[in-house]
Amino acid sequence: MEYFLTEQQKLIKSIARRIAEERILPARAELDEKEQFPWELIKDIANADLFRIFIPEQYEGMGEGSFALCIAVEELSRACAGVALTYAADALGAFPILLYASEKQKQQYLPVIASGARLTAFGLTESSAGSDAGNIKTTAKRDGNEYVLNGTKQFITNGGEAEIYTVIAITDPTKGARGASAFIVEKDTPGFTFGKKEKKLGIRCSATRELVFHNCRIPKENLLSKEGMGFIVTMKTLDSSRPGVGALAIGLAQGALEAAVAYSRQRVQFGHPVSSIQAVQHMLANMAMELEAARALVYATAKTIDSGAKSFTEEGAMAKVFATDMAMKVTTDAVQVFGGAGYMRDYPVEKMMRDAKINQIYEGTNQVLRNVIALELLRRKGLRG
Amino acid sequence: MTIQIDPDKCTGCGSCVPVCPFSVMDLVNDKARVKEGCNLCGACVDACTFDAIKIEKAEQKVGEGYRGVWVFAEQRDGKLKSVAYELVSEGRKLADKLGTELSAVCLGHNIKDVEQLICYGADKVYLADDPALSDHQEDLYTGLLLDLIRKHRPEILIAGATAMGRSFIPRVAALLYTGLTADCTGLDIDPETKLLLQTRPTFGGNVMATIMCQAKRPQMSTVRPHVFKRGTPHKERKGQIIKVDFKKEAITSRTKLLRFIEDLSEKVKLDEAEIIVSGGRGLGKPDNFQIIKALAEVLGAAVGSSRPPVDEGWISYSHQVGQTGKTVCPKLYIACGISGSVQHIAGMGTSECIIAINEDSNAPIFQVATYGIVGDLFKVVPMLTEKLKRSRGIV
């Protein structure tokens, strides 16, 4: 399928692919086994300038948009979803700054994020606030020239490894969800510590930790935009990062499909390669179709965002739900095509299946997002321009 | 070739001065004089109407004045390396074919057994033994060897293609503007021209080339250790050991050795081992080197490796056999799970007996193996180890 990439986008794709094939592929099994954060690979990704993709040129970035970011995430994910997530979550953590920071804040943080020298993370989720994001309890009380943060964030990707955190906290408890604000908090700020590293089903090389704020004082200059904007910052940030999650799912499914096709061609049963069995062929055909449809949807969403669309909540939600549900199915079917071998950790597909699950949950569960899609659909009375 | 001006015939007319393309003619005390830089082109001879200038065109052969085969006998910490004896043995054959002398050059400090070089075939040994040379610094070696060559003019010089040989011998060749051929696997004398025929592999051994250094001297070659075999030493052989003086102020080292860190990981040194058991990519993971080590222990052998396991970090570089590793020539080389790339064979192909164990019958290693088993090394090697243990009564 031709998607008309520009020269620069083609370059991004080929460089991300080289990193995936030459560096990530040989390391992924061990990183998964040992649950080790992929620092060496992050360095390779940084050296290749991939962190510059989503940063504007005036801040030492390449000024590319959502589509270019999706291409990079997809290529990295094809080798390992955990590594791709570390990269994609960095974009997630950067979006609040990209979208809502002051010029001074942008000058201070974006160049260093672009170089990949310091990673970012987005801190929203809490133990009592998953889908119910409005129910967050972390507070930020203004005290003179500072804000004092108290509370705990849960399940934060890149937690403990990142140095720049964009955190959502309640500044005005009387206003409920509208009383939330967004802040930049740096690692090693006194009062900011991390909880244990979570042990997960999949994406095991990705670091997931609690962020613990205990009378953590930050300068008032670390407020992003205005007090009370936290909810809007969150919504816009998540909208912007949804295609990236979709891209991660596509890359993951692509890798699984390739592995399944290759295996089915060389595995011989009853005197023939299993790829000659119609039942298997139909499975592979369905996997390929759904993957291609998901890809088209994610790319279309990314290009819509890049065209400057003001609102893309519905598209983003559709792309994320469709692609992640597809990836769960494709990776599961890939294990099936591998048969018994697919269940064994010596083969790559069981990891892909384990990696796929989280994508249906984070960044808005696929159930919540269906609510979002339905509401948008009803609001526009099902009509399409 | 010489140029001469007859003062009796020269009238000081100066016709020769402007015609010289190199501007080396002038008049001194009304007589023509040739300065340095004369190329013997003869333009002045043509210009002189008094026949006062003569150029003697003597029939001189290329390489005239260069005689003798030299071997750079490398040593380390006072001990001569095996390659020194191997090259003296081979050099002796070359010298005999040319009907000339074989000399060895030995530079270092407290070098033992220098007479052995004579036993192996050298007629002379030029020996520079001085504490200043104990750090093996190449600036000093380059300077000393260069001096010796300029003084004594050998027609051939061969040296070991060791780290040191490959580092300082090219420097000597560069300064002498002479030809150097690296990693020769064959040396011979062309019966007609009496020139050195140097044969070496290129493209990792896929193509062999024979090279000559026709016009420049000395003709220089480096040879890898264990490519040639050392001959038999003859205790009765007589020769001269000539002490070389060197003025320390004249030759200084720009590099300084701060410290040396020895690699102690090998119990049996690979280079000198009589039996080597090697593992390759077919081992699959680092722990499986245990299988190789077990067999090596029973045989009293050294453990070797092809390049992939070293690249993967399964075993250290000091065990690597091959083009960018060590060249070995043991009595017995057992290759387990090694495909036999050209680069690996370059490092062990001259072993007396090669045994290959590989599950791929098309693996190139079988083309050089004396004996082979096409099979699963994980079954064959442990079984072999057990069998040998039992037959040797080792429990």
Binding site: L11, I15, R52 | A174, P201, K256, L257, F260, I261, D263
Partner: protein
Amino acid sequence: MNIVVCIKQVPGTTEIKIDPKTNTLVREGVKSIVNPFDTYALEEGVRLKERYGGKVTVITMGPPQAEEALRETISLGADEAILLSDRAFAGSDTWATSYVLSKAVTKIAQYEIVICGRQTLDGDTGQVGPELAEMLKIPFISYVSKIEEIKDKHIRVQRMIEEGHEEIETTLPAVITVVKEINVPRLPSLRGSMKSKTAKIPVWNAAEIGAETDKAGIPGSPTRVVKIFFPKREHKSEIFQGTVEEQVAKLAQRLEKIV
């Protein structure tokens, strides 16, 4: 710090064509790569630039198609690249090559260090590094596995030899050759790749670098290849047949006779 890196474009070894007239390699039409050992040299040069500031200039002597290899080095972090190309350079042996390179380095004039790979895939001699150093009349250290420090015009390195490692110090400028243990070369970067597409790569010929043509190419080379042949592998090996037990038994029998 001004760093010069010498690279060579070599053929991918699967296709080898020899010109029967000159007994040298036919380079046109063969897929070419940057000599793998030179990628370590380039990486080390770029790391030095990142550590101490400065500029990396890559040079190579080759036919016009060698420009491709130079562009690749720019995508890998080189700041500038220069192609040394002239009909007169063709067929150079290591002496003539080192001579041409030395003239180019001399023309570059401002440099603290020259870095080369330890040997090429096709020639395998490893001679150009040391010969170049001698022609430039500067110190030389081979098989460098680590650059410890550069300070006050001195460089301290670790060097790999058969017996272990030496720690050596010398003055700059100097020439070093590096082994692959020294680093892991980076992959091309986005900005580097874009820069390499538009970079201007000057071509210097013999006149430009003041190289005497009788010291380059075939006339300038003291060595000449007089014959090329493919090694014969007439070898009969005995492959043991039978069950694993039978194979091992036969092998063990042979072994007992040898050891």
